[in-house]
Point group: D2
Chain length 349, copies 4
């Protein structure tokens, strides 16, 4: 009953196999090896973007921070949701890399185009005194487990383009969104107006690899310098590349996401079915937030369930509720999910 | 005939095995897993430092930059050799993380204690106008392939302590130095006065893991915040830990370094024996610089030898020389080294 | 009819006289002159804080940014109002100097203690992943022209102290607040729990001098280094000091603020009296926001009135309104204010 | 007998008069006033550069740091002399503003073109690993009191242009150099290949004003944003402008420099004439370094002479020498200088 995160499970055997495959003989360091070239080509194929500049780093925070830094000046502000990972979960890394600040748009996990326009219009009205308009960053799957539709992404990008601002997509759960929407990576990125994607591998089964995909090569050299200056350039780069090769080969990345999404859907159905539990948002993938009475939360935790209590809604009586976050991954076990539901039901008054 | 770097060979099977061993079941993310704890304990054992704070990052530049940042103020200067990796090869990463500047001490790869004292005395004479005295950083094995003796390390640390300055040791080739000196890790670090070590794994056979070892825990929490802010905190931390476990288990790390050193010694002997080639420094481990006529360099390169030409000494006639850098690693082949020597001899006039 | 800002008028003759007084003979540079010592003593007297560390800089943004940087780590967040000058009007300077980010508390110019407690509690719940709790910054007179009461300041400070967080007071209009509240500088600062004050001179009649007053000397040396590193240390420091001496001598600073406040009150009374205009907030000093029909705004502007249109409330018909900001200073002319009111009335339908 | 610096004397009456002249009525803030426009035009006239972008800041460190930041990337290195003010006397401000590092060229106060070429060629040979080539910065009058000839400046600029690198001139003592060389400001700057000048006012008689002059306007907006973000934008900008107007009007700035240079020459002649004292460099202006026996230094200091002892040459016997720095300014008194010389002679054995 482990639902803490999609970074707590093992990696699929194919990833280990891919490491073993490249583990022979001499290869140039720092990304000049054969496998890095191959992995980048595979990413370009996946995105139908033969001209894209593709880089690999080991953490999602590095991917987001470096990508945003390439599109920001130190006097800019980056537009994002108030629950964006870059705002809440990266300990000032985006600010560290970009020197820009963040402007929180609206009050939802999904940026509303009108709220974005208002936020953009509210900057640069003070000339040199206030921050200048910088890039827009959205997260797909959002931090609340929902998905932007293609139209919604396009609408956000359209507003950004109206002001000449670039758009970054934090795709830590990019594959889960692709499986949910049934669209292509190109449709969910450059065809909708996105300029740079953090294409997540780690939450979807890799040990630690994210690709940064620039659809316009203009930022390529700057990225390389920023990556090295940020200490994110791997010398034995083949081992990042190998993971990505194993991930993209034979559609493994989509299978992994599909499995995670299915387990997420199974879990969501239980939450809907149990009278004492309630979904906070309609989940699109493998990440969901639910509400349950605090007494129940405690009993279930005591039985060994593992998930993050996100918020404690203290109403001062028995109706006290806890909001919890549940995450599945490709290795989540269907029987385990059923057991979790049964555990809740067993204790529910 | 590949001598470009110690990051261009494969990793030993034991490292892959160690990854496979940990690749099962649930483990908490971000270093709260069982294996990270175990790996840190093993490092503490290696250093006979049960109170040390131990962290794992994926690149040497991250290890150096984060370690130095924990001991620097933005108005400080860090004392290092003019050929220090932190000065020449990290694209301003130490400055990015610490905001400090670097003061180059003397003109050698090994910091001379008297030159260090002069350099330290030359700072803070301008009060608030000049940079303030910050940490001292030394590299063992040095960037020129030599080793500080234990007495030499102690002499540098003594000068630093005279002024209350901390000492950082860039141990990218720490194991090679241990094998060369025949001393213990404790003797080469805290017993000599070193405060924090970048304990290298990558150049000695790992895919990409370095330990940062603080002998005083006071900097532990700051390091954790700086690591996250720098985007260097791995979510699936078990895969960093596993590599380190495989590395330290059964003394593998020392065996790997021993092999690399032996190949380095074999190579050095050839260079000494061939009349047309000459060692630039007396090598202590797996890294050596040599001089040979330019015509010979070109012919050998054309035969497929791979190494870095470090400097071209243009004297305007047939005596033009090239300085090259040769590096072996644990996987270097003895027969290949002999073939390299034979190739040189074959073309030598 | 100039109400654009309190930095658009001349300085009082006493300030020029004070410059002339010190303009003789040799004085050590960089604040080691006699006048700087004297000016700092005068500030300490004003604040009844004989142990305070007092520094002079030339801009309010420098005072705020340097003061906050001394109390922040790069991984912290600074708590402030969403309309704080440090957030809206300093082009990322506080972030540049501190490397911290800003957390906007509540939706008012005055920080509500409960909202502050919730905002503080909402940080550090994610361990190393989110920003850490940093200083609290309030502005007195607020950016909306209102004043915190002494009890309100104390309540904010109490919450900060509950969590061990320092409090910064942006006192760009400190004197105006003192005159409004009829209290002492000590009561409005350290006696209420404030740790460091940006004590404004520029908006109150100086050419460009602000004092940073640390009630605890522990940050003194760090401030000096940060000031120099920020390029804010004046070599001919006597000319900053002289202005402050002229300002504090014979209570000039209070007289200037009193005049500005009186003109503000006169202006506010007009706004209240004219049916077509309305105050947005109850003004406490020399700064006020008012609403008037857009047609009226345009006619008045065309007559030569100068003030900032702050917001345009477009309701799509004749009821469209404009919010404007009016600021008086010591040199504002009573007759001019009456003429402004008459101008409005003349055009009002 | 005060020779500590050219920032320790008073300012000429014309500067105070200029402040009084502008001290009337309403003027827009932040540089949008009439006087700033006028002062910028006067600077453009002085430099025969009608298209130049001209800005005023209050400290030389701000001028240098902001100018260099506009021409640097965070991964660059700035080429300068090892005794450059930006390296030795600005407490890491240039690094703070630019994020770049500094590469020290040669071992002289005047950059040698060949040494510069070697230093430039030595960067970017490591691709992404080392810092990238950034701007070249020279100081005129140098920190050792000497002047580059126009040909020497041109030779440095030519090397920079060879590599497409911009050139910054730290002109803290620009006027002194103009008087020494007898050339025009244009000849000593853009006609020689300089891209941006820190045109000093403070050391030559102003309270605290430096102009930053960009001969190419492309950097203008970036400078404005960096200036505000650095907290160097004055609200009551007219008082900076007024000083510059008073300074440039009727050639006052040249008269002041001429006086300072004449006093410097007088002082130098004494040093040459006294057998026990010796000039370290041939001085070009108002700044000179001299050597004298330590016993003599102590006796002269005890008589009230004020200057900086720069270095103590301890040879372990009566021949111990002290190197001292002497600086004159426009207000230095000829009789005082003679008295200083007489004092030395009186004590000399």
């Amino acid at each position: 009953m482990f639902f803490a995160s999609d970074n707590t499970g093992p990696v699929p055997q194919q990833v280990l196999d891919a490491l073993a495959e490249v583990n022979t003989g001499y290869q140039s360091g720092y990304g000049a090896d054969d496998y890095t070239q191959k992995a980048a080509d595979m990413v370009r194929d996946v995105f139908e973007a033969p001209e894209a500049a593709v880089y690999f780093v080991a953490t999602g925070t590095a991917a987001n921070s470096l990508a945003l830094a390439c599109y920001s000046n130190p006097w800019d502000t980056i537009f994002c949701s108030p629950v964006a990972h870059i705002h809440e979960d990266e300990c000032n890394a985006p600010e560290f890399y970009s020197n820009a600040k963040l402007t929180l748009v609206g009050d939802s996990d999904k940026i509303d185009p009108d709220a974005l326009r208002r936020a953009i219009l509210n900057e640069e009205i003070r000339g040199v005194h206030g921050p200048q308009r910088g890039p827009v960053s959205i997260t797909q799957i959002t931090e609340k487990g929902r998905a932007y539709s293609l139209d919604e992404i396009k609408a956000v990008c359209d507003v950004a383009k109206e002001f000449g601002l670039p758009v970054h997509l934090d795709g830590a759960r990019f594959a889960n969104a692709i499986q949910h929407l049934g669209c292509t990576p190109a449709e969910m990125s450059w065809k909708a107006g996105v300029d740079v994607v953090s294409f997540g591998g780690t939450k979807n089964g890799l040990m630690g690899v994210e690709a940064v995909v620039f659809f316009d090569k203009a930022k390529a050299w700057e990225f390389e310098l920023r990556r090295k200056r940020g200490a994110h350039l791997f010398s034995k780069h083949r081992y990042l590349a190998a993971q990505m090769i194993g991930f993209l080969r034979d559609g493994l990345w989509l299978d992994l996401a599909q499995k995670a999404n299915e387990r997420g859907a199974q879990l969501a159905q239980h939450i809907r079915d149990i009278p004492q539990t309630e979904l906070m948002y309609e989940p699109a993938a493998n990440l969901l937030f639910f509400k349950m009475p605090r007494y129940l939360h405690r009993l279930v935790m005591a039985e060994g369930a593992v998930y993050y209590p996100w918020e404690d809604l203290d109403v001062g009586n028995d109706d006290d509720m806890v909001i919890g976050r549940l995450v599945c991954d490709w290795s989540s076990d269907a029987a385990d999910i059923d057991r979790f539901a049964e555990t809740i039901q067993r204790f529910a008054k």
